[in-house]
Symmetry: C2
Amino acid sequence: MLFFTQCFGAVLDLIHLRFQHYKAKRVFSAAGQLVCVVNPTHSLKYAPTRCAAAQTSTEQGILPPCHHHEAVHDPQLVPCTCPLFSCPWEGHLEVVVSHLRQTHHINILQGAEIVFLATDMHLPAPTDWIIMHSCLGHQFLLVLRKQEKYEGHPQFFATMMLIGTPTQADNFTYRLELNRNQRRLKWEATPRSVLECVDSVISDGDCLVLNTSLAQLFSDNGSLAIGIAITTSKVHNAEAEI
Amino acid sequence: MLFFTQCFGAVLDLIHLRFQHYKAKRVFSAAGQLVCVVNPTHSLKYAPTRCAAAQTSTEQGILPPCHHHEAVHDPQLVPCTCPLFSCPWEGHLEVVVSHLRQTHHINILQGAEIVFLATDMHLPAPTDWIIMHSCLGHQFLLVLRKQEKYEGHPQFFATMMLIGTPTQADNFTYRLELNRNQRRLKWEATPRSVLECVDSVISDGDCLVLNTSLAQLFSDNGSLAIGIAITTSKVHNAEAEI
């Protein structure tokens, strides 16, 4: 009996996911776009950000207690780029992708243009929606975060980071697009490297920022569809030609 | 001597304006775009918004003391659409443009695509930058407002309104574009009619919203260049064809 109940639950989940998939397809009707349903990662406690904690530790000449490496810091060693504050992992750039997949079960998608469908936008801050995106021979990390920068006023911040160096990141441009009810909002920028901290990108506001009211205008039944496209940067191509 | 000092001041102002004009031209390099330098209108006191005041008055069965019309309200009579709170003027839609030009000295520009260059972005909230834009046989009002929706956290709100009815407004799409330092932000929407209140559009957040940090990223030496384009709405064209 329990087996049949579980089976029925799984079928219901599949129908729900399929429904959300078609909803996003309807919004982003361009052929060939992959729609990925992303469920939230709800961090129970943010406390000081990892950047602030790392800076304080460096200023005091000590390393954070959760870090297990030697005192001489290798610049290629990056703290875990998953925004879960509690993750103590550090590693070389080359193994960040496998860490994110294996430890945090973050999906990786292929294709130059995908649709990121974040569910349960109503959940209280802080909440993150994360996905990895593989294209043009590199892996990118999309982070959508709901955070209260000003107490009582949650906002949504979306940014894309390259799992690579800042020099590599300069070769790309990413675009995030919201499109609903005859309104369209597009953000284009050069991705930051994961060697820079996602927390500082968000606190600097150098990303797509949405007030709750604007997020609600673009949401459909509690889900926000963000179209993502990555291209090689034209400026760098032109410079390379010269 | 005083005459020569004033002449020198005027020449300096002209050089400064010319320099800002070329700066904006450099950012929006598309040929044929008209660049308009817009100086701020600093409202000393906002107090309750006109909408709120009007609503309260209606609820209490009285009219605001500054309004000189009869108790029977004509829906075609609009309060002054200039966001200066203290303006007591009301009039028919047909004379809104001449009121804005003559009483508030708001410039009117021609052309489907123009660049709105708002100066002195550092001024404290509340501050407005306003211009009228004439194209496709209609007049539009662009309002950029710096306002503290949350105390101590000023934000910038930009919206475009048609000096016409809501039905007429539905036939158009406006686009606001910020472009600087390899970052681009675009907002596209249907303009609202000036018969709706500009204050409520901004409080609903149904417009382009910029945090101070994002506004600084797009500003150049305290000025913000916004590219504006107006087109006839494709949806309505398609419906008309059917």
